[in-house]
Symmetry: C2
Subunit: 397 residues, 2 copies
């Protein structure tokens, strides 16, 4: 992994972050600014600058040249700040209300200055708090349909699209996904992380040739299929939400990939959350999955019918065919995401905070069983409805 | 279509071509050079420089900033000279004996100086002369297996591969394929070119929803599937051959595309040649198709087993799965190529030189029928052997 570290790059401090804010004149002269670093420190510095008088704020995000989760010795390209701000700007062209506003970017400092979203809550945390987030799936369905359709060959002149493919070439962050999502969890390697109680289930995965064959194909599609500009990491931790608002953040993994990739990741994270809940409280998550797909289908269809440049979109049956392929891929990617979030390097709080241990292990076993089933049965699962019964069947085993 | 015309670009003349040769010191000082422009003048100037004393020669190819086949008013990027020479160099890394040697390139002049292949014959012409070219398919099978495998994610670090995807981004020449291969022949548009006697057959194609749906998917795969560095225009006119030698030329359409694309084009052009022959002389072409696929499979498998970087290649059944998908795609692309070479903008001599008219029309009807069948039945045709019976069935209708 190479670092494209500019000679003038240096990490901001709270003081220099305020100085930058003043220089950019983002607040009134009379403002009284405070600054706090609120990042989790894994990959980025995140400064929250606030005017004490008006309570207005901004966020300054700066990429760090290494990944702490794996140790400071793993350098990580600063180019991801360019990818992130370019993706946010591209998404804002079609879903301006669903992404944070960008005020300023500096590529050599790997800095993006953007809207303060602290009045919202990260949707993973909100769901863990038992909140319903009634508009979450309506908004994410729209986000997915519009960001995917309008960056695809269905909507764009293919020459313009090929420029975007180059602009969003993201080899280093894709490599993280290739390794930690698609590869390591399926082999006995050191980066995996799971409770010893899961070993039998994990070994079943490592020995499941059918599963690994399907994962191999899903990985190959991730590597080669430049269908649309995908977010690349659309889990519930990448979404700020409230009762009425939704904002998708952190598209540093954005690249041209398969249409079903983001959809699958969102599905998987809703399913993982469902496993953290008592059975009687899971329905809202299945409804979210159904709504996401229904809204995606509705908005994608509308865009297809009104804004296609591709003449073949008029051919009877083509849209249905595309949607059914997208759904199949989404189910496959959902399965991979469920597995890797359970036994791979990066976990989710939804599973890891379950107490006591026995219930946590049981939930993780269910996650692995559902994940494997989704990957292997992706051609047979043709309706989000079916996920409810799959989940129920495995929860009762 | 944009012209990336450098300020210093100007077309060579026979005199300046000789001057360049002298400057490059490619011949002895004592040589007596002659120069002849031998290009067909559509897209490129091609100078054949020869030393009268030794009979050694070289070729200087220079891209023109427009395409004459469509009229001088259609500008065409000079960047294709960079693509062509880069592709030849890349191919030479794995099949040095199957491509012309490159002696010199100049990107701003869009010039490539390369090996003189005038001792060989273009394989389309040789096949039309009734020659067997006994090693053609052995060599092309090897060319396909090695150029495709070693530029794919199976063999390369995915970051290196993504660099190559960017290097070989070829929007303008891909657009020509997208329009004239995948789109126009399937709609009633002006660029098409066919005898009035074919109108009923052509309208059957334009009204065949099933066919168009499959072509739409093949086009989408062409647009999005960056599996390997494909030649992009591998018809029998892009291959020099003799009894013992084969050289693949003209990769100006090279880009990262589907593994099956080149294979399908080569198959189609062999099938088109078979239609120019009396039935009793066709067998050699079916054998060439079978040998191409057998050698491709053998060499691809060898490379897969010995040189894969991708760990999933060890999963049982994966190679068979990849090969069967490649074959299915190849059959589909072969069908599209047969149709577009019959009724689209660019024809092949194999069909157009058939006399009398009645036999020509019949051959073209057969080409359209076989082409449509290949596209629609690509999942059912799983062995090159079947092509012989398809061809026979339609020839007898």
């Amino acid at each position: 992994m190479t670092v494209s570290k500019s000679s003038i790059y240096e990490p901001l401090t709270e003081n220099t972050a305020v100085a930058l804010t003043v220089r950019l004149q983002l607040f009134e002269d009379s403002s009284v600014l405070t600054c706090k670093e609120i990042g989790d420190g894994n990959l980025n510095l995140v400064f929250h600058i606030k005017d004490q008088l008006t309570n207005n704020g901004i966020i300054i995000k700066q990429a760090l040249p290494y990944a702490k989760v794996i140790g400071e010795s793993w350098p990580l390209t600063l180019d991801r700040a360019r990818i992130e701000s370019s993706a946010l700007l591209k998404q804002a062209e079609v879903v301006p209300t669903l992404v944070p506003k960008i005020f300023y970017t500096d590529e050599s400092l790997a800095i993006t200055v953007m809207e303060d979203l602290s009045h919202l809550q990260i949707s993973r945390a909100a769901l863990l708090d038992g909140k319903d987030l009634p508009l979450l799936s309506e908004h994410i369905g729209e986000f997915l349909a519009k960001t995917l359709f309008y960056t695809s060959d269905y909507a764009l002149d293919p020459r313009k699209k090929k420029q975007l493919v180059k602009q969003f070439s993201n080899p280093d962050l894709c490599k993280i996904t290739e390794d930690f999502v698609f590869t390591d969890p399926f082999f006995d390697v050191e980066s995996n992380n799971f409770e010893e109680e899961l070993r039998t289930d994990v070994e079943r995965i490592w020995n499941d040739t059918h599963l690994k064959l399907e994962v191999a194909k899903l990985k190959q599609k991730f590597l080669t299929s430049a269908e649309a500009l995908v977010h690349g990491d659309l889990h519930t931790g990448s979404i700020f939400a409230s009762e009425s608002k939704t904002k998708v953040i952190d598209p540093e993994f954005a690249y041209y990939g398969p249409l079903g990739f983001d959809i699958g990741h969102f599905f998987a994270n809703l399913l993982l959350n469902s496993l953290s809940r008592a059975e009687e409280n899971r329905e809202v998550l299945f409804k979210h999955i159904e709504t996401t797909w229904a809204v995606f289908t509705r908005e994608f269809t509308k865009a297809w019918e009104n804004d296609s440049l591709e003449v073949f979109t008029k051919v009877e049956g083509y849209l249905e065919d595309v949607l059914s392929q997208v759904f199949e891929d989404a189910i496959g990617y959902a399965g991979v995401e469920m597995i890797r979030r359970t036994i791979g390097l990066a976990h989710v709080a939804d599973l890891d905070t379950i107490e006591p241990l026995e219930r946590r292990i049981e939930a993780k076993q269910t996650a692995l069983a559902i994940g494997s089933e989704l990957v292997k049965k992706k051609k047979e699962i043709t309706d989000p409805n079916q996920l409810r019964s799959y989940a129920a069947a495995f929860a009762h085993q």
